[in-house]
Amino acid sequence: MEAVKSPKKTFVSTRNACKLCAPLGASVVFKGIKGCLPMIHGSQGCATYIRRYMISHFKEPVDIASSNFSEETTIFGGNRNFNTGIENIIQQYNPEVIGIASACLSETIGEDIPRLIREYRTVNASKALPVFVNASTPSYQGTHMDGFHEAVSSVVANLAECGETGTHINIFPGFVSPADLRHLKDILTDFGLDYVLFPDYSDSLDNPHWKEYQIIPEGGTAVSEIKRTGTAKASLEFGYILNLGGINSRITESKAAFTAAQWLEKNRSVIRCKLGMPIGINETDRFFKQLEELSGKPTPNRYERQRGRLVDAYVDGHKYVFGKRAIVYGDEDMVVGLVAFLTEIGIEPVLVASGGESGILKREIERITEGKYPQMKVVSGMDFESINEMTEELKPDIFIGNSKGYYISRRLGIPLVRVGFPVHDRFGAQRLQHLGYEGTQQLFDRITNALIEYKQEHSPVGYKYI
């Protein structure tokens, strides 16, 4: 593999970012807690932009409050706005939980959110208050994925109980689609496992139509469930990279941040099972093997058959995909999973790119591809304009990633298969599946069809069969 400094010219600025900011990730996590209303402690714009971004993807109401910093707040501190914000949220929403994410502004002026929460609780000790959780998410540290992991870890560390180890397991799937979450729940249920899945926004960000308007959409992991994470017998955590990007970009804080499963292992002695995103047959096999061990039961027939059908599809479709050159981009753990899958079907990832900066993407990709693609470039801290400038040399046949790379695939006239987040230019992003044999089947069908469609449309003969 080449030692990559890949774009011909390195730019100081970021041009069409392939990442979002940390409070967005935390907001997604807070939406996955039952009865939770998120608040961003910062300017009004942070909350509004993040709402707009999530709404365009999930097509659901996404209410996120803001403490709405003014010039005065910035100079004298956010205490008053914080308290007013909490009071107004309670008055309008009366939520079970308030999830507070910091923003670059509040972090820069040194706001101490845990202290603000403590003080608010002390002053209002006589009242029945919501549960408060928080995440430190300045946007100058890492990406939305780091904000996501920070929030998962912080919520768990805040709530996980001590106690005797139970028979249940934890599952921390990372930033996947609501349909992925539903599929995971089905799998765990079919294994007869008692589990805590967190965060669970499978309903709150993909709700059925309502009889009555719900000011806080139903769904989410209940606080009582998150408490149980402390007494689980094991934690499954998807992703090899997790929160390393955020840690890398910190300079003022040397203390290592833990992921939820790492924290539980260290502080609650919950065994941590490290898995990649279960995309493709090999990574999914690992996941199911783990579930067999944890449940003491064989994989239910339903999933054996899903796997069998997937193998059958790989065989039926292999010639359409073999040797095709793909540019794969997005969140680091998602691209690791996608590359693991593409390697199984003979698609060559010519560029693997992410806006994340964990520093270990290249190592993980190399490990997972076992050195099969010596020409492949793996670039962290990537932006779309850099990808755009590399395409001439890379000669890709297909793009696999989020919506934001569309402009490049359009210029090249090649297909883009939309995965991950954000998918702003197609309908049904909430229902896209990536995980398990079932999710892989969907990905395989979509990728194969995209390549067939390309061939069909560029053929002088309009074949009606393949």
Binding site: V12, S13, T14, R15, N16, A17, K19, L20, C21, G42, S43, Q44, G45, C46, A47, T48, Y49, I50, R52, Y53, I55, S56, K59, E60, P61, D63, I64, S66, N68, S70, E71, T73, T74, F82, T84, G85, I86, N88, I89, Q92, Y93, C104, L105, T108, I109, P138, S139, Y140, Q141, T143, N207, H209, Y213, Q214, S249, R250, I251, T252, E385, K404
Partner: protein, 443 residues
């Protein structure tokens, strides 16, 4: 629980029954889920359509990422505006300052993309860490020979509306520096952003009347034309919330008169043409305007009449960015038989709210800087059938079982001008009459 926070009670009133006037121009209440964005956003959306300029956001990545290609503002030529540039500040930059990073970013981007000007937006933390972006801009301007204009818009420094003002002031530094030849009887179009090509329709109308359009600010905007905007004889201002400030500056500085118009709905659209002809006291121009309006009315009215028959009795809720647009929407809806029962805006003005008060039927709810809880309560109370708003209001409307029309800056359908009125009617009809509501109606 109360759907309206105590601090917000005077920002809501009902026409005919409440004697008080509405309070507006206030900062959003902490903890309310305001539909507004921030100062940065205000300036960013106004300047965004200038297509041959470089727009670089000096701050951490979020502000640039969320405003990448954010408006449906089309360009007939260059499209530098559709790229998102950021200094992507990291923790070390926050600690040690980001000026050097900004300087190098500007130089490399100007070399690479060859813009005619650069706008440099400051964000929240730049306001706090105290980077001197003005000095960096001056240095880059000196080296590269193009205007490099600081847009001092830290998000906390007021509301979205203050961002509009900051954008106007940034534009004012550019205006007067250009020397394009401009014929007599020319106008500038202020406050149309060429969403879905709306500006191009307006240009066609003015062309038919024999009027030269000098600068379009900022829809399909070009640096050179804007720099020469001071040579026009009249500023025609739409979206007055964002652009009146610039028109006032130009009146003070260059003595250019201004005229407030709206291009939404056929009445307001026609008035906009007549008023410009009147301004030039040109009979031929007026005659041409009359012919144009007559033709368009002849084409539109029979179709609109059909829509009206089918839509009669439907009720609409409007929640948009500025109250001036809301006024046109109320009239346009009335033309197709739809009654407005809720009307609000993020950044309305007292005068415009008063016009709305006069214009609407008794009992209409008027609201400033609303939020999802209020909007959902108002819509339920008034039994509205259709919601007109932006992306953030759409899922609320849909979850409530209402039809929806996107009238915000992300829209892909042209809704201004005569053709726009047809599109508007068509969209309202499509959303109100869809058979899907049979599965959702609970009332």
């Amino acid at each position: 629980m109360d759907s309206i926070l105590i601090e917000r009670k005077n920002q809501v009133f009902r026409t005919g029954t409440d004697a008080q006037t509405i309070h507006c121009n206030k900062p959003s209440v902490a903890g309310s889920v305001s539909q507004r964005a921030c100062v940065f956003c205000g300036s960013r959306v106004v300047l965004y359509p200038i297509a041959d300029a470089l727009h670089i956001v000096h701050g951490p990545i979020g502000c640039a990422a969320y405003t990448w290609d954010i408006r449906g503002a089309l360009s007939s030529g260059p499209e530098i505006h559709r790229l998102s540039f950021s200094t992507d500040l990291r923790e070390k930059d926050v600690v040690f300052g980001g000026e050097t990073k900004l300087y190098h970013s500007l130089i490399e981007l100007i070399d690479q993309y060859k813009p005619k000007a650069a706008f440099v937006y400051s964000t929240c933390i730049v306001g706090v860490i105290g980077d001197d972006i003005e000095a960096v801009c001056k240095k880059a301007n000196k080296e590269k020979g193009i205007p490099v204009i600081p847009v001092q818009a830290p998000g906390f420094n007021g509301s979205k509306k203050d961002g509009y003002k900051i954008a106007c002031e940034a534009l004012a530094t550019l205006i007067g520096t250009g020397d394009l030849a401009v014929p007599e009887k020319s106008i500038n179009i202020l406050g149309d952003f060429n969403l879905a090509g709306e500006l191009w329709m307006l240009l066609e109308y003015y062309k038919k009347m024999g009027i030269h359009v000098n600068a379009t600010i900022t829809g399909d905007g070009r640096v050179e034309a804007i720099a020469s905007a001071h040579k026009a004889s009249l500023n025609v201002v739409q979206c007055s919330g964002s652009m009146m400030h610039l028109a006032k500056i130009m009146k003070d500085k260059y003595n250019i008169p201004m005229m407030k118009v709206s291009y939404f709905g056929i009445e307001d659209m026609s008035d906009a043409l007549y008023e410009v002809a009147k301004f030039f006291k040109d009979d031929e121009m007026m005659a041409k305007a009359r012919i144009l309006v007559r033709e368009e009315f002849g084409r539109l009215m029979p179709v609109l009449k059909e829509y009206k028959e089918k839509l009669q009795g439907k009720k609409a809720a409007i929640y948009v960015g500025g109250s001036f647009k809301a006024i046109s929407l109320i009239k346009a809806l009335r033309l197709i038989g739809v009654q407005t029962v809720v009307v609000g805006s993020q950044t309305g003005t007292p005068d415009e709210y008063e016009i709305i008060n006069q214009l609407c039927d008794e009992g209409t709810i008027v609201v400033d800087d609303s939020n999802p809880i209020e909007l959902s309560a108002f819509v339920k109370e008034t039994c509205a059938d259709i919601f007109i708003g932006g992306v953030k209001e759409r899922p609320i409307a849909y979850k409530l079982g209402l039809g929806f029309c996107d009238h915000n800056h992300e829209r892909k359908e042209a809704l201004a001008g005569y053709e726009g009125m047809l599109n508007f009617a068509k969209e309202i009809y499509a959303t109100a009459m869809s058979p899907v509501w049979q599965f959702t109606r609970q009332r």
